[in-house]
C-alpha cells in the first residue's frame, strides 16, 4: 500500500467535519475489508491523501426498534446483526443474507454501511495496477464499458452504459423490506430508498456524505426468504440473488414483493398482487408475471444470457419457499 495520512474521528460530528474539509481527498475506513483491497490493488486512478477511521464513532453502532421501525446504525458489524435477537426473531431474511456474505472473519469486522457502500466487483474495473493495470473503463473516464465486448458472465442484464451489478446482498434484502437509508453530511441529513443509493456509475453519495442509519419498517410479510446463487459457498458474490416476502392483504389476496440482485446496478423490485391458490398452474402464472416484469428492459450481453433461465429457475424456488 502507498502511504496516506491517518486520523481517527472522535464522534459523528467530527467525522462529518473532516469529510467536509477534505471531500475527495479523504476516504472513510469502517470495516476496511473493501477499502484495503482498493488501496492494495490500486485499480482506481486516484489515491486518497487521508484515511479517516470511523470505528471510534460508537454512536453509529446500534440495533433497536422504535415506533415500529428497526433502526440499524451504519457501523454495526455484520456479525452483530447475525446474532441479534431482533434480527433473528423478526427479520430472519437479514440473517439468511448475512450468512452468505464473505466469510466469518470478514463479517466480524465488516459493517452494514460498508456492505451497502462497497465498490462494484466488475473484474475489468478491479483489475490491479500490479499486473499491467489498471484498465480504463467507462467509470474511469474510458469510452466504453469493457465488459460489453469481453467476458461478461457476471455482468448486468439491464445496463446503462456500465454493466456492473450492485455488489451488496444486504441492499437486495433491505430493498425488499422497503427499508430507507439515512444519509448525513455536515449540517444536512436526507432519506433515500435503497434503490436510490445506487446510480449506473456509482453511489449517489457526495464525497462528504456517509450512510448513518438503516430504517426497516416492521410491517414485514407473512414469509420472507433470500436466495443467493453463487458458484460456490461462501465467499462468492452473487451471480443472481432474490429476496422475497409474501403478504396477505385480505384472505387469499396475496402480495408478492420480490427484489433481484445481479441484473442491474441496483436492486430491481417487482410487486405482484394476486388471488392465490396453492397449485402449480398459479405458480407458473405468477412466475411468468414476475419474470416478465423484471426482465422487461433486459438485454443480455454475449455471455450472460444464461441469467434469464437462471432467474426463472430461482424465482420458481423462491415462490415455492414462500408459499
Amino acid at each position: 500500500m502507498k502511504k496516506f495520512e491517518y486520523i481517527e474521528a472522535e464522534d459523528l460530528e467530527d467525522l462529518l467535519s473532516i469529510l467536509w474539509d477534505f471531500k475527495n481527498e479523504a476516504r472513510v475506513i469502517a470495516g476496511g475489508t473493501d477499502l484495503l483491497s482498493i488501496f492494495k490493488d490500486q485499480y482506481l486512478l486516484s489515491y486518497p491523501k487521508l484515511v479517516v477511521n470511523a470505528k471510534p464513532v460508537k454512536e453509529l453502532d446500534y440495533v433497536y426498534i422504535e415506533g415500529g421501525i428497526l433502526k440499524i446504525g451504519a457501523l454495526t458489524r455484520l456479525s452483530t446483526l447475525l446474532s441479534h435477537p431482533l434480527v433473528i426473531e423478526k427479520f430472519p431474511i437479514i440473517k439468511e443474507a448475512i450468512m452468505t456474505i464473505a466469510t466469518p472473519q470478514i463479517r466480524n469486522v465488516g459493517t452494514v454501511g460498508g456492505n451497502l457502500c462497497q465498490d462494484i466487483r466488475c473484474w475489468y474495473y478491479r483489475y490491479p495496477a500490479r499486473l499491467g493495470g489498471p484498465l480504463i473503463c467507462l467509470r474511469k473516464g474510458g469510452k466504453t464499458c469493457l465488459a460489453i465486448r469481453g467476458d461478461n458472465r457476471y455482468h448486468a442484464l439491464i445496463g446503462k452504459r456500465c454493466y456492473a451489478v450492485c455488489p451488496s446482498d444486504l441492499a437486495i434484502v433491505l430493498c425488499c423490506l422497503n427499508a430507507e437509508i439515512i444519509v448525513v453530511k455536515k449540517k444536512n441529513q436526507r432519506k433515500l430508498d435503497v434503490q436510490s443509493l445506487y446510480t449506473p456509475l456509482g453511489l449517489s453519495l457526495q464525497p462528504d456524505e456517509i450512510v448513518k442509519e438503516i430504517q426497516v419498517p416492521c410491517n414485514y410479510g407473512f414469509r420472507q426468504r433470500f436466495i443467493k446463487f453463487t458458484i460456490r459457498r461462501p465467499i462468492d458474490f452473487a451471480v443472481l440473488s432474490l429476496a422475497g416476502q409474501l403478504k396477505f392483504e385480505k384472505k387469499d389476496l396475496s402480495k408478492w414483493i420480490i427484489t433481484f440482485g445481479g441484473i442491474s446496478y441496483r436492486p430491481e423490485v417487482v410487486v405482484v398482487t394476486k388471488y392465490f391458490q396453492k397449485n402449480e398452474k398459479t405458480v407458473e402464472k405468477l412466475l411468468e408475471e414476475i419474470v416478465r416484469s423484471v426482465l422487461v428492459k433486459a438485454k443480455p450481453l454475449t455471455k450472460n444470457a444464461y441469467k434469464i433461465p437462471l432467474l426463472k429457475g430461482l424465482s420458481r424456488k423462491l415462490i415455492h419457499s414462500l408459499m
Binding site: Y6, I7, A9, D41, P104, R121, R232, K312
Partner: protein
C-alpha cells in the same frame, strides 16, 4: 479536529508492545497492516500471509476474542487491542488441546494455512465448546487449504471438543504386517512445529541487508519495447539495481531453450518488463511505477486456433507458425512426441462403432499452492550463487539453473519447508534468475516473491488441451483404433510441456490397451501466461478430452464404463511406450481387485442406470454417476541418491535433498530408515534440503517419493547397516547374516539377549556411512480409479459433487493419515473441481486474466465437502523393500473426467468442454 494517534499499543499474546507512529524503522506507519506488524516488527512469524486480500484466512488471529484477518486491518486501527496469535496458544510448554488434536489427526499437509485454521478453530471452541459438524464447517468457511486438509481438520476440531471421531474414509484391508513403524499411524516429524507456527517457509527466513525485488509487468499481451526510461528510478534513494532487457545477459530457459529471462518483446499481459531491487518492498513498488515504457503494440494471438491461422502474428522468430517442436532432450533422443503405431485404418474397419467428436479442457486452472512462489539469492564473487527457494525439489532447480547460467557458476540451492507446490514451483527459474542478477549487481541478498495476484496471473497454469478425434470400438469394449489431433496450448512459452505430452501419451496407453494409434499433437504458443508443471503432468489434461470421446463410443455400444476401464487398464505382461520412446513391459500388480472393491463401496452397479440416464430424479435435481482411471509409470522415474550415517549413540542421519511440501514424504523416508535400522522415528535426523550437503536427488515429484527416493534411502540405510553388522560380527564371532539391530544395539537373531550397543561397534569418535542409489524404472505404474456422484439442478445449472470414492492399490501403506491427506487432495490443486468451477478466466480479446484473486478464482471451501472414501489395497509390489508404491500425485487426475461423465449422465446430454459451469448446463438443457 480528528485525532492523530502518536503511539500504538498492542497486547499480543499477553505482552504489551508499544510503537510510535511514523515512517522510520521500528515505527508503525499508517499503511502497515496488522499482519505486517506482527510478522516483521514484533517478529512472530507463525501468522502467515497468503492472499493479502482477505479471502484465504491464512493470516487469521484472534482479536478481543473474535477471529479477524490481520492482512485486512491497519495496525493503527488496532490500538489497545488484545491479539492472540498461534504462538500464544502454547501455555507453560503445554500445547492447546486444539493443537494436540491437529497433531493426532495429521490435520495438515504443507502446513502453510494451518496456523490460521487453528486460530479460527480455537475461537470457535471458545465460543461454542460443543460445535456440530456444520458449525465447524461454517466457522472455517473462510479458510483456504489447497492440499485439502479439510476432512482431517474437522476430525481434529471434533476431537478437541471432546466428541468421538469415527473415521471411515481410508478403507484398508487388514494386513498382518510384521513391521513396527511402516503402515502404522504415526505423527509427522514436523507436526509440532506446524501446529505451533514454528515451521519456516521462505518468507520466514531473515537476512541482514536484504533487498526486495519487484517486477514491472506488461499491460499488453504482445508488444515490442521501444524504449524504457528508468531515469526517475535511478534518482531514488534506496533503489539499488534495475534490470531491463537491455542490461541483462542473454540467459535463456524453456524447451527448447529459447525464452529469454528478460526480453525486448513482451508476450502476455503481466510479462516481466523490468525488475528493481530496493531497500523495502514499498520502495521497490514505488520505483517500478516510475519506469516509463514505450511499446509498439502487436496483434496478440490469444486462442490456439488464432495462433495456428496462416499469417498469424508470430510470438517468436524461431517459430514463425507458433508451433513448438514436440521433442524434449530431457527424455533422450526418442522422447515420445506422438502415438503413431499399428494400423489405425484397419482398426477402424474392424470396429463395431466409430465415433468422431471434439472435446476441450481449456480452463487453464492454476494449481495455486497457498504459499506464493518466492526466492532469495545471494551472489558472491566471482561465481558462487546461493539460492533459498520455495520448491519441492532443490536439486532439480540447481540442475535447471546450471544449464541457464552455465557450469562455471557454482550453484547451491537450499529449500526451507515449501507451502505447497503441486509441481508448479519447479518452474521458478525466471524469478531465480532475477534474484540472482539483482544480487550480483548489488552484492546484497535479494528476495523476489510474488503476490497472490501475480501468482494467479503470471505463474504456472495447466496446459490447455483440445482433441478432435476418432475412436473405433468393438462390442466387447476392445478399442480397435484411436486417431486424432491434439492441440496443446502452452501459453507464451514451454518449460516442460513437451515432457508433459510425453508422459501423458504414455499414460493414455496405461489406461487403454489398443493396438492402433494415430494421435498427432501440436504444441502451440499463445499470448497468455504459460502453462507448465502441475500434478497430473500431461496425463490429466489428455485424459479429460480422450475419456469423453471413449464415452460416446461406449454409449453407442451400451458398454458399462467401469467394466470398460477395468478391462482396458494395463495388466501384468502388457506394455506401453513410455516417455523416452522405449517399450516397457508392466510388472506390477493387477489393479482389477482394487477397482472392483471401489465399485462395491461406491455402489456402482446400483447407481449405474445406463448412458445419459440419471441415477435419481427429485424435482429439478438430477443425480448422475461417472468413473475414470489414471495410472503413471513415473513412480520410478529418474535418479535418487542418499547417504545415511549411523551415530554411535544409536541415532542416524539421512542426507537427502528432499523438501517437505505437504506430501509427508520427509516423514515417510524417516519411517523407512527407522524401520530398516530398528530405531525410533525420533532417533532419525534429516539433513536440510541443501544441494551443498546432500547427493543428487531429482526430487519428490510424480509420486516417485515412495519408490525412487524411498529405495535410495533404504539402500543407504541398508548399506550402513551391513557395515555395522560386519563390524559387529567380528565382536560376536558370528556371521553378519545372523545379526540384526534394534534400538541402537546389534543382537544375535537367535538369541536377542546377546546384544552390543552401537558405540562399542562404531567407536565414540566415528560414524558409519552408507550410500544408496536408485536408477529409473518405468516398469511399474500406479493406479487411481475415481467414482463420482453429482447432483445437477437443471433449473439453475448448479452442480454439486455428492460423493467421491477413490480406489487404488499401494502395495503397502507407509503412513495411513498422510496417504489419506494426499487422496483427499483430489479436491484441491486444480483437480476434480476443474470439471465444475475451477478455471482461469481469460479475456479472449486482450489476453487479460480477469480473475487473479481468490474470490473470482474458485476453490473448494470447508462449507461444501462431499462424502469421500478411499479404497486402498495392499498387494505387495516385489521391487520395493516394503513392497510400496507412491500414488499421491495422481489423486487429482481421474476425477475431472469422471465428474464430466457424471454430469452428462445426470442431464442426459453430452457436453463439450470443461469446466461445466451453470451457463453451459442451462444451455445444454435448453437445447435438449
Amino acid at each position: 479536529m480528528g485525532k492523530k494517534p502518536k503511539e500504538i499499543n498492542l497486547f499480543v499474546n499477553g505482552k504489551r508492545y508499544s510503537f510510535s507512529v511514523g515512517e522510520n524503522k521500528n515505527q508503525v506507519s499508517p499503511n502497515h497492516t496488522l499482519a505486517y506488524t506482527i510478522r516483521e516488527v514484533i517478529g512472530l512469524k507463525g501468522t502467515k500471509i497468503s492472499c493479502e486480500s482477505g479471502a484465504c484466512g491464512a493470516c487469521t488471529v484472534i482479536m478481543d476474542g473474535i477471529p479477524v484477518l490481520s492482512c485486512m486491518l491497519l495496525t493503527v486501527e488496532c490500538n489497545g487491542k488484545s491479539i492472540l496469535t498461534i504462538e500464544g496458544l502454547e501455555k507453560d510448554g503445554k500445547l492447546d488441546p486444539v493443537q494436540e488434536a491437529f497433531i493426532k489427526h495429521s490435520a495438515f499437509q504443507c502446513g502453510f494455512c494451518t496456523p490460521g485454521i487453528i486460530m479460527s478453530s480455537k475461537a470457535l471452541l471458545t465460543q461454542n465448546p460443543s460445535p456440530s459438524d456444520e458449525d465447524i464447517r461454517q466457522a472455517l468457511s473462510g479458510h483456504f487449504c489447497r492440499c485439502v486438509s479439510h476432512y482431517q481438520v474437522i476430525d481434529a476440531v471434533k476431537e478437541a471438543s471432546g466428541k468421538a471421531v469415527t473415521k471411515k474414509r481410508l478403507l484398508r484391508e487388514k494386513t498382518d504386517s510384521k513391521l513396527s513403524i511402516i503402515g502404522k499411524e504415526t505423527h509427522r516429524t514436523d507436526a509440532k512445529k506446524i501446529v505451533t507456527g514454528k515451521v519456516e517457509y521462505l518468507n520466514d527466513l531473515r537476512f541482514d541487508n536484504l533487498l526486495f525485488g519487484k517486477i514491472l509487468r506488461s499491460s499488453y499481451a504482445h508488444a515490442l519495447i521501444k524504449k524504457i526510461d528508468v531515469s526517475e528510478v535511478e534518482k531514488m534513494d534506496g533503489v539499488k539495481a534495475i534490470l531491463t532487457w537491455e542490461n541483462v545477459p542473454d540467459l535463456r530457459g524453456g524447451t527448447p531453450r529459447f525464452k529469454r529471462a528478460l526480453d525486448q518483446k513482451v508476450r502476455f499481459v503481466g510479462d516481466a518488463v523490468a525488475v528493481v531491487a530496493a531497500e523495502s518492498e514499498e520502495l521497490a513498488e514505488e520505483a517500478i511505477s516510475k519506469i516509463r515504457v514505450d511499446y509498439e503494440v502487436i496483434d496478440p494471438v490469444i486462442k490456439p486456433e488464432s495462433a495456428l491461422k496462416k499469417g498469424a502474428p508470430s510470438l517468436y522468430l524461431e517459430f514463425p507458425e507458433n508451433v513448438l517442436p514436440s521433442h524434449t532432450n530431457f527424455f533422450g533422443p526418442k522422447s515420445l512426441k506422438e502415438l503413431i503405431f499399428g494400423d489405425p485404418e484397419k482398426g477402424l474397419n474392424e470396429a463395431d462403432c466409430i465415433i468422431e467428436d471434439e472435446f476441450s479442457y481449456n480452463g487453464i486452472p492454476n494449481p495455486l499452492p497457498a504459499e506464493s512462489p518466492a526466492v532469495i539469492a545471494l551472489w558472491e564473487d566471482p561465481n558462487r550463487l546461493t539460492l533459498w527457494t520455495s520448491t519441492q525439489a532443490p536439486y532439480f532447480d540447481k540442475l535447471v539453473l546450471s544449464r541457464i547460467f552455465g557450469k562455471e557458476i557454482n550453484i547451491r540451492v537450499i529449500s526451507p519447508t515449501c507451502g505447497g507446490s503441486f509441481g508448479s514451483k519447479l518452474m521458478s527459474w525466471q524469478l531465480q534468475v532475477f534474484a540472482a542478477l539483482l544480487s550480483k549487481k548489488t552484492g546484497h541478498p535479494v528476495k523476489v516473491s510474488l503476490t497472490k495476484d501475480e501468482h494467479l496471473a503470471t505463474f504456472t497454469l495447466r496446459p490447455g488441451v483440445k482433441l478432435k478425434g476418432k475412436i473405433g470400438m468393438k462390442k466387447d469394449g476392445t478399442v480397435t483404433a484411436v486417431s486424432g489431433d491434439l492441440i496443446i496450448d502452452t501459453g507464451y512459452y514451454s518449460f516442460t510441456t513437451q515432457a508433459q505430452l510425453a508422459v501423458g501419451l504414455g499414460e493414455v496407453q496405461i489406461m487403454l490397451r489398443c493396438e492402433n494409434w494415430n494421435l498427432r499433437p501440436k504444441i502451440v504458443v499463445t499470448n497468455r501466461n504459460a502453462s507448465g508443471i502441475v500434478r497430473g503432468f500431461g496425463g490429466q489434461e489428455i485424459k479429460c478430452v480422450l475419456i469423453p470421446l471413449l464415452c460416446r463410443a461406449m454409449e453407442r455400444l451400451n458398454i458399462d464404463p467401469f467394466e470398460f476401464f477395468k478391462k482396458n487398464f494395463v495388466k501384468p505382461g502388457d506394455g506401453y511406450y513410455w516417455r523416452d520412446g522405449k517399450w516397457y513391459s508392466y510388472r506390477g500388480v493387477n489393479y482389477s481387485k482394487a477397482m472392483e472393491k471401489g465399485a462395491t463401496i461406491f455402489g456402482w452397479r446400483n447407481k449405474w442406470k445406463g448412458w445419459l440416464k440419471p441415477t435419481k430424479i427429485n424435482g429439478s435435481k438430477r443425480r448422475g454417476v461417472g468413473v475414470a482411471v489414471h495410472g503413471n509409470a513415473d513412480v520410478g522415474e529418474d535418479v535418487s541418491e542418499a547417504f545415511v550415517s549411523l551415530h554411535p549413540e544409536g541415532r542416524a542421519t539421512i542426507f537427502s535433498c528432499i523438501t517437505e511440501h505437504g506430501t509427508g514424504q520427509v516423514s515417510n523416508i524417516v519411517k523407512m530408515v527407522a524401520e530398516v535400522l530398528g530405531l525410533k522415528i525420533e532417533d532419525i535426523n534429516l539433513s536440510p534440503a541443501d544441494s551443498l550437503v546432500t547427493p543428487f536427488e531429482f526430487g519428490p515429484v510424480g509420486s516417485r517419493g515412495t519408490y525412487a527416493i524411498g529405495s535410495a534411502t533404504i539402500a543407504a540405510a541398508e548399506n550402513a547397516k551391513q557395515k555395522l553388522l560386519r563390524k559387529a560380527s567380528k565382536l560376536f564371532g558370528v556371521d553378519p547374516a545372523k545379526l540384526d539391530t534394534k534400538d541402537g544395539f546389534v543382537y544375535i537373531k537367535a538369541n536377542p539377549l546377546k546384544k552390543i550397543p552401537w558405540h562399542k561397534i562404531i567407536g565414540w569418535e566415528k560414524t558409519l556411512s552408507g550410500y544408496g542409489r536408485f536408477e529409473a524404472d518405468h516398469t511399474l505404474t500406479n493406479c487411481m480409479m475415481s467414482f463420482v456422484e453429482v447432483e445437477v439442478d437443471i433449473d439453475t445449472g448448479e452442480t454439486q459433487i455428492i460423493e467421491i470414492v477413490n480406489a487404488t492399490d499401494v502395495g503397502m501403506v507407509i503412513d495411513p493419515m498422510g496417504l489419506e491427506g494426499q487422496l483427499n487432495g483430489c479436491l484441491g490443486s486444480a483437480g476434480i473441481d476443474t470439471a465444475i468451477f475451477e478455471e482461469t478466466v481469460l479475456d479472449k480479446g486482450t489476453g487479460v486474466i480477469l480473475n487473479p484473486n481468490m474470490i473470482d478464482y474458485k476453490w473448494r471451501t470447508f462449507a461444501e465437502l462431499p462424502e469421500i472414501k478411499h479404497v486402498v489395497l495392499e498387494t505387495p509390489f516385489p521391487t520395493h523393500k516394503f513392497h510400496a508404491i507412491g500414488v499421491g500425485e495422481i489423486a487429482t487426475s481421474p476425477g475431472p473426467a469422471a465428474t464430466f461423465m457424471a454430469i452428462c449422465n445426470a442431464i442426459g446430454t453430452w457436453l463439450k468442454e470443461y469446466p461445466v459451469t451453470p451457463d453451459k448446463i442451462l444451455e445444454a438443457v435448453k437445447e435438449k
